[in-house]
Symmetry: D2
Subunit: 323 residues, 4 copies
């Protein structure tokens, strides 16, 4: 469904070419100071306009509509929405019977029995991540001592892809530092489980690995095990990526995600015509991201904040001073 | 927490050296035929005893204690437990102040303020996966038309690791075939999100990738996109691993997981003494799996069944004939 | 929290004197036809303007902002909001340090550490029920064969209360007919549990009883038990109110709720001054409902639809044809 | 379903005439001291054997099977089960095609498509409340400063009912004192919503009212409103039953529940024969409670502890010191 979290709850809504997209937050502690200018600065990082990203310049103006009073959170749900303005649905009408390869067009058509809003991928649009960024921005205030940094590495030559109307994917590496030990709620809600759950929601993510990850599968135990150096839990190496048994161990949390190349390309592709049942060649018009990965780090940071904020609230709830 | 699923609900419990481990299932449709012999055969596949796995031969006898009547499910919760028999806690008492590198000993000690059951990793033991296998066995009856196959590839030389008291990790590849399109509940409950959530609960899993995964991050969009061939959604290639926009697209679901080498090795390691705060060398005694990965495919299959059963029940609930 | 339901999910938001109030719906099957005029007609029933209700005439115009396409639900979340227009916050500023007796002013002040929006009861305002009515309207389309009727009986003389600037409470009786047997998910999610959970969310509800209710506590078993007459489950009497063991039995579901008189009255009352810690007399100005109970039946009907829709989706999910 | 709570989670299982009944608890803080003798003393209060309760003397011996170590909670799930010993299923086989009036026999038969365990009401048995009592016992340790007292008032003449093989119902009044203000999570998770949700799960409960309850519906606002006397929130009267806007206001929480008379009576009753579709007269044999209400106060207290423990953990999570 469109909800995530146990205490700090994130509810996502909207479509690319409908009225708006946004997020509803619940379980936000009262009394958190909110500076809307700060949010705009964060959103700026996600924006199109970089070389390799679409030139379609959305004016992403957040409307914080509920849950604030005198510039502080009230403890009531916070609704943040973004009106959709620069939308042109015409190209999507042309493509509505020819699902674009690599997109959710076909799978959504089956899932929603043909009732899905197919314009610009509808609810499956990358534009939905605007709400994630807002949620992460507020979540970060709950875990403000923790530092989260992500970096994108392109999987190919961006300038070449632009020229050839093709696209490239890449890797995002994330490091969470100043991370307290003891976060994570095994058996099922290990910190890796929750992070991967949220990360795989980001459109285009096809792999997640922690610490040494897939390379670690080739190591021996004596190479892999991280020797513990002191009572803070600091280890000599960090092959575990800061997580043992699903619980943070006090070291930096390290993970990498694989981003597939953007599905929208300007090159001719083969697909099926839903009306005739026959194969057809299509070409997708308009501006698209040759490398949307450039916009992903800010989203990954937001996802980390969301997961960690919820885990911090759980940890506060269950700490031993309760009794 | 220890629960997973929205409708088909799995609740895990138990410790390695306590009374028992097991699982409580809720949201199981009434009237499913249960053959307990069949369960024993499934559990056999998970068992120790293979070369490279521990010689400690647990007699894993499942007790189905509630929720059955006349060999059929009743719709009430199903409790399945396994008594712990061959347990020797002494080695763990010796190690209780020296957290074993690579294990959850240190992170659990912090998380549970020193109150965790540290014997044999306690609730973090791989033995907990017995309950997962049982849950998967019942879940499979809900998605009986779907075929799930997993295969393990060792990441090193097992016989060498045994000799050197070291351990090896590896890769598990899974293919889910005869998979209907339309499974997955975006935005947050994409099929990749739910599978990875559950897979990262399995002790030792440190990476998950779907389809072309991390290699796909190096491809261009024109190489990666899977051309759609017919109205069933069949594609020429399957780089997406059977999932677009978080929803199954009718092709096989393909994923790979990275397993770290087992943390328990017989070689001397460095850690901290929790009492003195000084570093100390330890050696872990007893029999351990040099390559527990051999036992993981049956667990991965179970996890897939659990996720797919829950998604199938959701799909049934929300299908269009409702109105 | 502000969410209700397992599959059909209702998320409530907003404040009386903020930007807007409304509801976010998730888990709505795709393909349901939506006629916005119909919604306005339903909302009309909840509106102020009846004798005994406030003269403050809100223009309650629903904005369905997401989740619809070509006048049908898409399966994506549905956001419905109402802009707040006729709001005058001044009287609340005057009262902000003197919590109004009978209102949530004091308890919210404690709960939210003084950060709650106190204007017009903020998030605790009866205005929040607008979102419930919208949710119920869509839910009703999922359970369209079921008939839900509620009636209000005033607990005192309304015209006298208006004259004396006092208020009256009352009883709402509800009958759910054409009700299928088999709804309800014991142990915890009995149909009575879910209905009462949602009913006690309606501001002012202080009691809920099913069938013979509190009078039934004075009967003997031989008087109370409802003889079963045929295979449809029809019973001679209906003391159980259509529910046995938390599951609908095929008879009409009958319940009554107790509504306390409105807390806002124009008569002088005693309270505490939060700044001085001393008692103080206050008089609440402005127009208020002498008998808001007149507006409650439509809300009760909505709540029933919400609960029944979710139970129907659960029932579809778990019906025996699954396997 | 069979689960309740957001952080402190209670999962109920078992059948009257199966192997066992019990409870699985999750989200229990680590480090709580557990004295099993204490639990036996609490269970004693629920036991049969009082005049008016069944003479069937179950030896209700709790087995705490997981989640404890060195007599303290570990933070892992706690499994408590009770073996069923003194069970005689024969009378139920005789009655299996003639659903007993007032029982869940018919509604369960429909709901579970005939697959339910009908012996002794199966999963719908009052015996299931054993697990509730255990859960409440542990929950109470989380809210140990709060005092919870319940009292039963019979709705008729018990000795007469015993003689006539009939049954009586009654009222349970509960007072929760030393209750902190600020508990309750509106909009949906008001303290009244959560208490009533859990209370209506107790077999036989058909009404719940808070404070003045149904009588309050006949009062005017000026009579009903509770004047606030000091900064602790203490009020002159307590018509609201200690709750305003779904949040505890610092006064005692007061509520009353209506218990229907026990469904099992030794007097001839009419029902339907599920095989022939014709009406039939039945007489229920064996010992039954003429007044099970005598055993309910301890269950009501447990339910209050469960709800309050979960709300206290939520309150700890969301308190303002977080940031």
């Amino acid at each position: 469904m469109n909800s995530f979290g146990r205490i700090f709850r994130v509810h996502i809504f909207g479509e690319s070419h409908g009225d708006c997209v946004g997020v509803l937050l619940d379980g936000v502690p009262a009394g958190i100071k909110i500076d809307q200018k700060e949010l705009r600065a964060v959103l700026e990082k996600r924006k199109a306009g970089l070389p390799g990203t679409t030139k379609r310049m959305e004016k992403d103006i957040p409307n914080i509509r509920t849950g604030l009073f005198k510039d502080k959170t009230t403890g009531a749900p916070i609704l943040i929405s973004f009106d959709n303005k620069s939308k042109n649905s015409r190209p999507y009408e042309e493509l509505k019977d020819t699902p674009r390869p690599g997109h959710a067009d076909f799978s959504s058509w089956i899932k929603y029995f043909g009732f899905n809003d197919y314009r610009g991928a509808g609810h499956a649009s990358g534009r939905i991540t605007l709400g994630l960024v807002c949620a992460g921005w507020i979540a970060k205030k709950i875990v403000k001592g923790i530092r989260i940094e992500s970096q994108f590495f392109a999987g190919g030559d961006i300038k070449k892809a632009i020229k050839e109307k093709d696209s490239v994917g890449g890797i995002v590496e994330c490091r969470i530092s100043k991370m307290p030990a003891g976060f994570g709620e095994p058996f099922f809600d290990s910190i890796e489980s929750l992070l991967s759950h949220a990360l795989f929601s980001i459109p285009g993510v096809k792999g997640v690995e922690f610490g040494a990850g897939f390379e670690g599968a080739l190591m021996t135990g004596s190479q892999y095990n991280d020797a513990i150096l002191d009572l803070s839990g600091k280890t000599r190496t960090n092959n575990a990526g800061g997580v043992n048994g699903g619980i943070s161990n006090g070291n930096d949390i390290l993970f990498r995600i694989a981003l597939r190349p953007a599905a929208s390309i300007g090159i001719e592709q083969e697909t099926i015509d839903l009306k005739t049942g026959k194969m057809k060649k299509i070409k997708i018009k308009g501006d698209h991201d040759a490398c949307y990965g450039l916009r992903v780090p800010v989203i990954v940071n937001a996802v980390c904040s969301i997961v960690l904020a919820d885990l911090m609230l759980s940890r506060k709830a269950l700490c031993v001073q309760a009794h």
